[in-house]
Symmetry: C2
Subunit: 334 residues, 2 copies
C-alpha cells in the first residue's frame, strides 16, 4: 500500500474550541460517541489548537508531541487510535508524526479535546490525501471527542442527535459574522480538573434527573437555534443559563456526585445575576469545570471583561468572538 | 366570653430548631401548609426560641416583641393570625402580649420560624387553657410554619405527608438519647437571606425536576428512618447528602432560579467530601440558606468543629446534639 504515499504527506490545521449553549452531557453509545441529545455551540476565535500531521515511511511507530513535549501514554493512545480510523479510510498503514499545541491552558475546563480532535481529524485526513466533505469530517471528529465535531464548521453550529454514526453530524446554523456576541472566559483554575468530562459523561445515567434533562435539552435546542437566527439576546441568554445549570444538576446528583464549581465559580454566577439587575445584560454558561463563560453583547464586552478581571480568584479572562471552522493552513502533498 | 379568662393567663415555652434530613420543599396546600412530601428531622439542643404568651384583658390589640424590640408589621401579622387560630379553638377573644427571643441569629438560614412557631403554638395553647395532645400541637404548629411541627416532639421526628389537616402531623421516630450524633452548624452569613424559604417554597413547581424530587424524597424517608432506627451512620449520611443536594437542585432550576449557596458553602461541601476520603466520616446537609450543617458521630464532633472554625468565611460554629421537644417552662393559670 505504500505507493499511495505519493499522494499524501503533511498538513497543518487550526481549529478553535467551542462553547456549548445546549450541552453535550451523556451518550447513548460510548464507542461511537453518540450523544443523548443534540447540542448547539459557537466557535471561540481566541482559543485554538494547531496540529501538524506528517506521514513518514521512515517511522516504525506513531509519535505524538503536545506543546513540543512527548505526550503521555494515555493521550498518545487516544490520538493514535484516531489516526488509525483515518488510515483505515485511506487504506494506508504509514506511521505518523503528530505535533499539537494549544494557545490556552490544557485541562483547565476549556474544551481542549474539542479543538484538538477537530484539528487532528482535519489535518490527518488532509495529510492522508482524503478529500472529505465537511459533514464527513464532523463524523470523524466526533469519534475522537464528541464536542470536537462542533469545531469543524464555522461560527454557530448544531450537532444533531442521531442513533447511527452517519446521523449524528454537525453543521453550521449561522456563520461567525451573523451575530457579534462575545464569550468572556473567566479562568479560575489552570490545573487539570479532578474529574474529566469523559468520566463525568459516563455517570449521567446514575442521576435520577437525567431523563428530564435530556427532554429539556431537546426543547432548548429549538429555543436557542431560533434565538441565534433571530438575534434575540434575552431569550438566548436566559435559555443558555438554564441549560448550563442543568448539566451541573446532573453532575451533582450523579453517583458519586461531581462538584465542578469552585467557590469562585459560584461568586461569578451570583455577580452576573446581580449585574443583570443593574442593567448589564450578560449571561453565564459553565462547562464541566470551574471556569465561567460570560456571554455579552459586543457593546458590553469590555465592561464585562473589566468586571471579571476584578473578581477575586479570576486568573485570566479570555475575550472571544464567534470563530472560524477548522482550517488547513499548510499542506505538502506530493 | 371573658369569664373563661379565669382559666388561663400566661405561659412560657422553649422549642428548639430542627435540621431536616429529608427536606420540606414545596406544598400541595399553601393555606394549611401541607407539604408535597413527608420529612424527617432532628431537634437541635443548642438553638432555640423562648416565647412567652400572656392573655391580658386590658389590651386592646395584640402585641409582639422579638428580642425585646417591637417586631415589624409583617412578622406581627403572621404571629397574631396564628394566635387567632388558637383563640378560636379556645373560644376566647382576649388580646395577647407575645414576647419571643432566639438564642441564634435570625434569618441566617437557621430555621428560626420552626422553633418560633413551635414555641408560639405550645405557649399560646397553654396560656389559653387548652390541653392538647402532642399530635394536635403539631397540626397547629404546622399551620404557623410548616417545619415548626417537627420541633414539637422530642429527638428524631417524622412529619407525615397527608392531604388533610389531620393527616399531616409530626411524631417522634426516636428520643434524643437514642443516638448521639452531632450537627455542627457552620454559620457563613448573619444577615437575612435574600429569598426566604416561604417564597422559595412557592417556586418549586416551576422547576422541571420537582416531580422527580418528590418521588425520591418518598424513598429517602424510608431509607433515613430505618438508618436512624438502626444507627447506620453511612447509609444515613449518604442519603442525607443526596436529599439535601436535591433541594438546591430544585431551587437552582426554579424560575427565577435561587442560589442559596455562597462561595463558602461550596468550599465546605468540597472540604467535607475531601475529609471523608481521608477517613473522617462526616456528611453535610444544607437548608434554604448558605449555612452548612455538618453531621458527625459524637467521637468525631470536636475534630469536625475545629476544622470548620478554620474554614475561611465561617463566622461561627454551633455544636448541637439531638434536642428535646417543645417544653412549657413556666405557666400561670388561675
Amino acid at each position: 500500500m505504500t505507493d499511495t504515499l505519493k499522494h499524501l504527506q503533511k498538513a497543518t490545521c487550526i481549529a478553535t474550541t467551542n462553547i456549548a449553549f445546549v450541552k453535550y452531557w451523556g451518550r447513548i453509545n460510548d464507542a461511537l460517541r453518540l450523544p443523548m441529545n443534540g447540542s448547539i455551540s459557537m466557535n471561540l476565535d481566541s482559543a485554538f489548537t494547531t496540529t501538524t500531521v506528517e506521514f513518514d515511511e521512515s517511522l516504525t511507530a506513531d509519535l505524538f508531541s503536545l506543546a513540543n513535549q512527548p505526550a503521555d501514554a494515555k493521550q498518545s493512545a487516544r490520538v493514535f487510535s484516531h489516526v488509525d480510523r483515518i488510515r483505515a479510510m485511506a487504506g494506508i498503514q504509514t506511521r505518523a508524526r503528530v505535533a499539537s499545541e494549544n494557545n490556552f491552558p490544557t485541562g483547565a475546563g476549556i474544551a481542549s479535546s474539542a479543538s484538538a480532535f477537530a484539528a487532528l481529524s482535519v489535518a490527518t485526513a488532509k495529510a492522508a490525501g482524503l478529500s472529505l466533505p465537511e459533514r464527513e469530517l464532523t463524523l470523524l471528529a466526533r469519534q475522537g471527542s464528541g464536542s470536537a465535531c462542533r469545531s469543524v464548521p464555522a461560527g454557530f453550529v448544531e450537532w444533531h442527535y442521531g442513533e447511527t454514526n452517519e446521523a449524528s453530524f454537525a453543521e453550521q446554523i449561522a456563520p461567525p459574522e451573523h451575530w457579534d456576541i462575545r464569550d468572556l472566559i473567566a479562568i479560575t483554575q489552570t490545573t487539570h480538573k479532578e474529574v474529566g468530562s469523559a468520566d463525568g459523561n459516563k455517570l449521567v445515567s446514575t442521576s435520577p434527573f437525567n431523563e428530564t434533562r435530556v427532554k429539556l435539552a431537546g426543547a432548548s435546542l429549538n429555543i436557542i437555534r431560533r434565538a441565534i437566527l433571530e438575534k434575540n439576546w434575552t431569550t438566548f441568554g436566559e435559555e443558555t443559563e438554564r441549560e448550563a445549570i442543568r448539566l451541573h444538576v446532573i453532575a451533582m446528583t450523579s453517583q458519586p456526585p461531581i462538584y465542578y464549581w469552585s467557590p469562585v465559580t459560584l461568586a461569578i454566577i451570583q455577580a452576573v445575576t446581580e449585574w443583570r439587575r443593574d442593567g448589564l445584560e450578560a449571561y453565564f454558561t459553565i462547562d464541566a469545570g470551574a471556569n465561567v463563560h460570560v456571554l455579552a453583547k459586543a457593546e458590553d464586552a469590555d465592561e464585562v471583561e473589566n468586571r471579571l478581571w476584578q473578581q477575586e480568584g479570576v486568573k485570566i479572562v479570555l475575550h472571544n468572538k464567534p470563530g472560524m471552522g477548522a482550517q488547513v493552513v499548510e499542506s505538502h502533498l506530493f
